[in-house]
Amino acid sequence: MHPAAQGLLTIFLGVGGCIAYFYFSNQFLDKVLFPAKGEHAGRNINRANMVRPWLFLFPAIFALGLYLAYPVFATLWYSLTDRDQGGAFVGLANYRQMFDDPKFWEAVQNNMLWLLVVPAASTAFGLLAAQLTDRIKWGSIAKSLIFMPMAISFVGASVIFKLIYDTRPVGQSQIGVLNAVWLQFDGGVGSFLILRLVPGLLMICAAAAALYVAWGMVQKALVGKGGGLATALRGVGTLLLAGIAFAALALAFGAFTKTYAYGVPQTWLTIPGWNSFFLMIVLIWIQTGFAMVILSAALRGIPEETVEAAIVDGANPFQVFFKIKMPQISGTIVVVWTTITLVVLKVFDIVFAMTNGQWETQVLANYMYDKLFRANDWGLGSASAMIIMLLVSPILIWNVYNARKEMR
């Protein structure tokens, strides 16, 4: 049968079957099993109403159980078995093998970088776009254009950005924007300003900001506010921020001392260390629109009086934004951040299409795909899938906790 006809038939059978199931199961319940007449009419109605929710829920529960809940446990089981030995239980051997694989640690390291950079950058750009478009007339058009990449597939976006990163040999005209711009730099004053001074200063500012926040945490921890858990969290946060500050300072030092290959077209996606960032830009480009839409709605929801009161008290626009608006939308920022974090943890298509994990750009999801379908090692693939699940689970628990709190 032609696939299109098969598709139509499936729609018909799927939709018709669902509706028929719901209709006839309800009829059966009301007319045959517990008819609302005779001597037990009242009892029957009550019983029917106890069963009915499960009739409504059954197909969904079945599909959810089979397609999402069961695989979690099945994957856990596969990760403890070896396919070559006929599925024998091998304990943690797959994990041990994975932890010995340098490619795995490369993927973990890259994933951590992605987790730091992409949600932060997308949220920051999204917040910037939301705030800027909030009060201008053509804001909605601007927003819809920034939002547009949301509709573009990761694969499509990869092609778009591959064109930007394209490289031609020396002497031919460059058709990738990045190289065309790169060849404009010649080592003169302009190059010094843009390639050394600006990034260097930005990195120093980032380090200073991280240290400032860390210092605030240390002070609060010294006061001992909020008990042991809060102090421990602050300690971890301080260490993390100190690490970020150190990295930023190292980058700033690099920006001033690195020797640049002026006039030589670069193959951007093969420069280890930097190429991951070029891949991240693709995802940031896509996710900024999402962050902007959500944050823009949150900004709109801020009570006008708070802003007016601040302005009457003499606050400048920056103070209004950072001291009045930001605290009021912090909850939404957390939601946006976690949502993008989830996307990042599962990112596969971009790496698969652009570098396929070569040149030290491997990430966990692509590592998993590699092990599963190219190396055909289901044990190792499942083990790496479980690592992704492990990274997702804090967010899962947090979401469930919030949902339960809301229900009460």
Partner: protein
């Protein structure tokens, strides 16, 4: 904000400029792809797409008319002569040219090149040439290597090739229909299943409801990577194998948590009075659902439909695992593009066009139904 004290700051024009810059930055990549898909191979390789609106200087290889063609040669004063224009379309301007590929800038326009055996050729700036010989000219047309400024030119040829040529490597037509075949059932079926479940979770009282809702919220974030091996094994074991049925089922399963979550949140907000009145009037739950809840929930249904459509259309991983078998007959567009990236990495006219064909449909849906998409996003993540 406009009429309160102090809001009219001098920053306004900076805001306008920054927004314009931001929008330009975000549009730039997509526009690049769009423009590239309308350019020819030569144009793409000789200049960046941002220069496509200006005349470009390229090295081109041109050929005169074949001397063997009927009636092209004339005998003028005892000399065999062929005249004509090297370009198919007017507008190009030659600066230097040559008759051999080793010296493509040997002559300026108007000069006459000696081709040996008494043959000569003269080329003018606009491409007019005069080719003469003492004996009758024969063989193929004379090649001319020229450096020419060609006017900007856009073509539909790439789209024709990608959509209608039927070439097995470049054609997207089949992949397009395959994607469509995957997408439509995978969008519609989860809606039906989820709508009933969402109604039960929103408006029916039964023990365990809160736990079920928490479960749905939890499943919302389970990475689908975990489902790949167990489900593929399941499909192979029960005989579905790799194919459309498998991919429809997989998309249905993976889309359900979001569908139930979105629809339940929306249905809970519907006015209680309507439902209770209907119950008092003797309507059954099934009637309430089909006659009242479903029509009222249209915005939420539309939101989810757009999400699921975009997600299934743009998906690569699920299709690769559950659909595409070794024959490659059921390839979808995203997969086709990844393969083109491998086989035709340098042919940007094909790549750009193929990518744009796959992007065009979601973009159209996006701009047509943006309202519902935004609404769904807000319902799905702002709590």
């Amino acid at each position: 904000m406009d009429n309160i004290a102090g809001s009219k700051s001098s920053l306004t024009w900076i805001v306008h400029i920054s927004v314009a810059l931001l929008v330009a930055l975000w549009l730039f990549p997509t526009v690049g792809l769009l423009v590239s898909s309308f350019r020819t191979t030569d144009q793409i390789s000789s200049s960046g797409w941002w220069q496509s609106l200006f005349p470009t200087e390229q090295n081109v290889t041109l050929r005169t008319t074949d001397p063997d063609d009927e009636g092209v040669q004339t005998l003028v004063d005892g000399v065999y002569t062929i005249t004509g224009n090297l370009f198919e379309e007017a507008g190009a301007e030659i600066s230097v040219w040559g008759s051999s590929s080793r010296a493509i800038d040997a002559y300026t326009v108007g000069e006459t090149a000696d081709l040996g055996d008494g043959e000569t050729i003269t080329v003018q700036a606009n491409g007019d040439y005069v080719w003469t010989g003492n004996e009758e000219l024969s063989g193929r047309g004379q090649r001319v290597f020229a450096t020419a400024k060609t006017p900007p030119e856009f073509t539909w040829a790439n789209y024709k090739r990608v959509l209608f040529s039927g070439s097995s490597t470049d054609s997207m037509a089949k992949a397009f229909f395959n994607t469509l075949t995957v997408t439509i059932p995978a969008t519609i079926i989860p809606i039906v299943i989820a709508a009933f479940a969402a109604y039960a979770l929103a408006w029916m009282d039964f023990p365990g409801r809160a736990i079920l809702i928490a479960l749905v919220v939890g499943l919302l974030v389970v990475p689908l990577q975990l489902a790949l091996i167990p489900l593929l094994r399941l499909h192979l074991n029960i005989g579905i194998g790799k194919g459309y049925l498998g991919v429809w089922l997989a998309h249905t399963g993976f889309g359900l948590p979001l569908a139930i979550y979105l629809l339940r949140n929306y249905m809970v907000g519907l006015p209680r009075d309507i439902i209770e009145n209907a119950k008092v009037d003797g309507a059954t739950d099934f009637q309430i659902f089909t006659k009242i809840i479903l029509p009222l929930s249209f915005p939420a249904l539309a939101s989810f439909a757009i999400f699921q459509f975009l997600w299934t259309w743009n998906d690569l991983l699920v299709a690769k695992v559950f659909l595409i078998d070794a024959t490659g007959q059921t390839t979808v567009m995203t997969n086709q593009i990844v393969e083109l990236l491998g086989t035709r990495g340098g042919n940007w006219e094909i790549l750009a066009t193929a990518a744009f064909v796959s992007i065009a449909v979601p973009l159209a849906v996006f701009f047509a139904m943006q309202k519902y998409l935004v609404r769904g996003l807000l319902a799905g993540s702002v709590k």
